[in-house]
Symmetry: C2
Subunit: 462 residues, 2 copies
Amino acid sequence: MNTTEQMKLFMEPKSIALIGVTRSAGVGAFDFPGTLLNLNFSGKIYPVNPKAEQISGLKAYPHVKAIPGDIDLAVIATPRDTVPPLVQDCVEKGIKAIIVVAQGFADADEEGKALQAQIVKTAKEGGTRIIGPNTFGVANVFYNFSTTPAPPQTEKIPIGGISQTGLFFLGFPRLRFGKVIDLGNACDIGLADALAYFEDDPDIKVIVLHIEGIQEGKKFLQVAKRVARKKPVIALKGGKSETGAQAVQSHTGSLVGKDEVYEAAFNQCGIIRASDAEELEDLSLAFLRLPPMKGKRLAITSWAGATMVLAADACERYGLELPKLSPVTVSKIRQLAPPWLPIHNPIDLWASIGLIADRQSFKERMRIVLEALLAEENADAVLAIIPDFVEMFGEYGDISSLFLDAADALEHHPLIFSILGAPGRFTAKLEQNNRTVVFASPERGVRALSKLWGYSQRLEGT
Amino acid sequence: MNTTEQMKLFMEPKSIALIGVTRSAGVGAFDFPGTLLNLNFSGKIYPVNPKAEQISGLKAYPHVKAIPGDIDLAVIATPRDTVPPLVQDCVEKGIKAIIVVAQGFADADEEGKALQAQIVKTAKEGGTRIIGPNTFGVANVFYNFSTTPAPPQTEKIPIGGISQTGLFFLGFPRLRFGKVIDLGNACDIGLADALAYFEDDPDIKVIVLHIEGIQEGKKFLQVAKRVARKKPVIALKGGKSETGAQAVQSHTGSLVGKDEVYEAAFNQCGIIRASDAEELEDLSLAFLRLPPMKGKRLAITSWAGATMVLAADACERYGLELPKLSPVTVSKIRQLAPPWLPIHNPIDLWASIGLIADRQSFKERMRIVLEALLAEENADAVLAIIPDFVEMFGEYGDISSLFLDAADALEHHPLIFSILGAPGRFTAKLEQNNRTVVFASPERGVRALSKLWGYSQRLEGT
């Protein structure tokens, strides 16, 4: 069985044994059968519980070996001491994929480490692969399948996530995943295997990694190098510092190693590194929604001069440039502006629109600015810093379709936004479009564009 | 007249002349009389417009000199060419404070620079002070007064803002101001004067600066040094880079100078520097709401191990420490946890509560963790990384009063939050309390606490 076939047993099982299902749902309780039934999972579900006849309306089996027919995947969610004999049973039943949910292995004490070594040995001898322990397992929206306790989202978002913790995938205000693999302690299936699964997966366009430690470093480098040429791979590394590395020890028991080694490895493979969770979200949305950025020249327009200055600072910090506007653009904006206003990049909207326009000409003036900017041949991307016009002006401020049409029309020219003040109804409309991103600040938008440009450069170089 | 008396003419005028009020409201139109009437401004309002008899129900005067009685403040909002003779008229009328709203002076071309020099000269000769040009002027919620076109907020928030652009004050999702002074091009009244006004202002606890350039450097250093010992002064500097400095030229025409000089000056004065607008908001809310942080030891508890690791990384990055938990804390948490779980700082809530608790014990277990943490004598602050429990679990997840009571009980011990995933109703309740701050990420919370600690250290040292 090759890696992809093996991973499909985890991600698209046709039959699944659920070992250790209880009927009393705790705060974070794993109601496996309930979740799968809610999702309309199409495979066979076999709950295993010696004390129940039925669970969630499904026939329960006292033992995994009592289940008739073949089983693609077993999920074990029992206390740690009971796990080794259960893994043995699964191997004997011929199950080739096991998810071990329980905590208390390499993430805990010496006894836990020994238990983890024992299940790895048993599985290896039987040709069975394990995800976990200390994991929520996997979720696959494209297959109506999840072993996680999280309220499943149902949108087929082409972002694949690989993490060492299931809760990680819930940690974002806006970022959602179509497929996730929680490696937990990664005792067997590691980053390389999971990454290889997404390599040629047509459902997945962007891959997001949360890394605490890397197992089988050479194999990972090899796979990552190959995959990163096909799809953007964005990584957040936990345990950069000594303090963080100590915290990792009791979280997943991973060996962390020096951060410089990771930095070098990411660079070598072409993995895009996020400095924190906020940047990970920014980059994931940028790579998912925006067209490639073919150069480093950014045109900026802003409702407020102060933020225009801060955005210009960010360009220098992140290696983008503010090109001169071409004469045709200048002459288009010129007709809107008071005669004394210098017209250049960044373009100050306040003096041309905020200060001058009446309700009737507001939309028309914005249309002219936008068309001029998007036709600007000296720019590779556009950043618009604007207030939530609807919250500010009411219904006549709703010029969102202007911006959305513009974003749709662009093929190789990202158009992004940053909202001055509190986001509202106008911002929500911009966000609904899947061709643009609204960033929390101009600086964060510029930072994301700079990585988009870095990725294009790298692809050209390879 | 001393500086404070002079600034009071701008911030608390008893009578005001509004020169250049139109009746057609544009997109960003300055409806001065309307704004003041809506605010229930208690002073006298004299609209000046030779073409109108009445404006907003108020008698209009053809000329400033036609107004009977004394005038504390004149606001001039006419095209730039008309400003010099109007300033002359105001000086002749004996007005000692003028706000010049119009753009197109040092922010524009050579002609604009000359016009600006001319009004400065006229005012100086007459003993009159000017705020602007290119400004929205001032707003003072404590006095029901505003010359800005922004929808006025009415909460008496003890944050005073000084900026070179009025739109700056609208640029934040959560940060609001009780008093603002927009210096615009700062041709006369500069940072030092504005800062001095807030120095002993009992309404203002935290001062926020937006700086593009500093006028009268020595005077500023002198005042800032004095004020920063009395109240936290937080600054964001635009135009750090060469690209940004160029953008400043056409925004307020300020001379920017090298960033290293600002960095040194801020350090010397004890001004707390924010690296971007997001940090400015974080710091303003932290200094406004949190008690002082008396040491650098942070106790962290998290619902998700991964974020606990990232928060630990942030502690090392920003110079905070993760202290060992005292035995009494460990024994309190121990009773909640599975026996194999190592109990230390950061404390993993998932294994003790998420994984184990049922609905009945959820709140009780959270209470025990919180009490233990807040009594922890080895910690100077607490960071809790939690999901929006109400959005996650529904009504029984509403344990916000637990946290709010805890925050209220603490005098010298900040308790802050970061929300895993999308914020919702639970988060909103935490936010309503004015003794805690919910940060957008654990990293941002740690960064803000580190500056809180830095400020305490500085005060002790002086």
